[in-house]
């Protein structure tokens, strides 16, 4: 009977990490935000295809607006719009044209603004109803 408890206890401690949902950035560059707002300060600039772990437990006194996720990328935790992420590996221009992007020789500032651009765009598509 005691042996049965062991996997349950292990799952309680490790399960959260072991079964963590992974999302991949599908925009060329984007930001992990301090707050769930597109104008919020950036915690880190993320490059397309980078994996981010979805965190279910929110920081205290924070609510998650619809369409936003709380994520972890490396040592940083922050918020990002769900529409910027894909469940599988994204088709990134940096992977398709690696040497072209390498030799564009983007500065940190340019990457930062490119990421901010994704946040500031209002996207639309007209459809037949």
């Amino acid at each position: 009977m005691k042996k049965m408890w062991l996997p349950i206890i292990l799952f309680a401690f490790l399960g959260q990490h072991a079964l963590a949902e992974i999302r991949y950035l599908s925009k060329t560059y984007a930001h992990l935000h301090q707050n769930p707002s597109r104008f919020s300060q950036s915690m880190s600039t993320i490059i397309c295809g980078h994996p981010l772990r979805v965190i279910k437990t929110l920081p205290p006194k924070t609510s998650l607006p619809k369409g936003w996720l709380y994520l972890k990328a490396g040592p940083y935790k922050g918020f990002m719009r769900e529409s910027f992420l894909s469940k599988g590996k994204a088709r990134c221009p940096q992977d398709q044209y690696p040497r072209f992007f390498d030799q564009l020789d983007l500065s940190v500032t340019e990457m930062y603004y490119w990421g901010r651009l994704s946040d500031q765009f209002e996207e639309g598509r007209s459809t037949a109803r």
Partner: protein, 294 residues
């Protein structure tokens, strides 16, 4: 005595054999090694020559795949992706001039414009709208592959107190411009891009940085200085008018918006440059006005 003679003969024979072996060149030895003719039948019987041929083909395929893979790494984006990357890169580079990274409420222009396009029967038009907090660019459509990036100056909109419908009409005329491909054509010519887009720099291993710089400069020149020609503007005005005429309310909005712009650029120095980029609201009004019959 006979023993001595036989020893002499042996030494001479040994020297002869030894000397001959020494004289063989490396290539001769290789020839001997590669010469399968003596065991050709045996190889055929064991299917070894078939195996060798198959392996040869495999090696060639692997080599070709590796070369193709390496070559693909040096690919320059094709027509659609190139313009999308370049427009975004230009916007990122000019963030401090255009001032698009500013906090603002959700104006709802994008949503309204989407409905406007649907009302006009323009379906499956994918776009991205970027409000900018600078009067340097008034409204502009940048190429982005199968999408269009629209820039809308908030100070410009505020100066004329434009409604969402009026903004949509202006964006619609920008979309017509984008569909004519004037921007792409002019930038491509100015930056001498023929043969560059979609090409490969595997051989040189160095991306032509001059071309990239000249593309960005051509963007600058076009958006801030040169703008569209009279001929282009005439075509766009006429085409927009054709699309809007069946919905007279929209056509009237288009006409009155141009009137508003005309009076703004005549009174506000900040927007004097407008007629240089979009020549010219005054002429546009003339092109749109119905000709008096004699």
């Amino acid at each position: 005595m006979s023993k001595r003679i036989s020893l002499f003969i042996f030494i001479v024979f040994f020297n002869f054999v030894f000397a001959e072996d020494k004289e063989k060149t490396q290539s001769e030895k290789e020839q001997e090694l590669v010469d399968f003719s003596s065991i050709k039948d045996l190889l055929k019987q064991d299917m070894l020559d078939e195996h060798a041929k198959r392996r040869d083909v495999q090696v060639k395929t692997v080599k070709k795949e590796r070369t193709d893979y390496n070559k693909r790494l040096y690919q320059i984006p094709g027509e659609d992706e190139f313009w999308s990357i370049m427009s975004e890169y230009w916007l990122a580079k000019n963030a401090t001039i255009l001032k698009w990274d500013f906090q603002h409420p959700d104006y709802g222009i994008g949503q309204y414009f989407q409905t406007f396009l649907e009302q006009m029967g323009f379906y499956e038009e994918k776009f991205r709208l970027l409000p900018i907090n600078s009067p340097d660019v008034f409204h502009m459509a940048l190429p982005a592959g199968k999408e269009t990036i629209f820039l809308v100056s908030i100070p410009f909109v505020r100066s004329m107190d434009l409604s969402k419908l009026e903004i949509s009409v202006l964006l619609f005329s920008d979309l017509i411009r984008a569909k004519h491909g004037y921007f792409k054509q002019r930038v491509a010519v100015d930056a001498k891009l023929s043969g560059f887009i979609g090409s490969n720099f595997f051989d040189s291993k160095k991306l032509d940085q001059v071309k990239i710089k000249s593309v960005l400069e051509a963007y600058d020149q076009f958006i801030f200085e040169k703008g569209f020609t009279f001929k282009e503007q005439f075509k766009v005005t006429k085409k927009t008018s054709q699309y809007l005429k069946p919905k007279l309310k929209l056509w009237n909005e288009y006409y009155s918006t141009i009137q508003k712009i005309d009076s703004l650029i005549k009174t506000n120095l900040l927007y004097k440059k407008y007629s240089k980029i979009y020549p010219s609201p005054e002429l546009q009004l003339g092109w749109l006005s119905p000709k008096e019959s004699r």
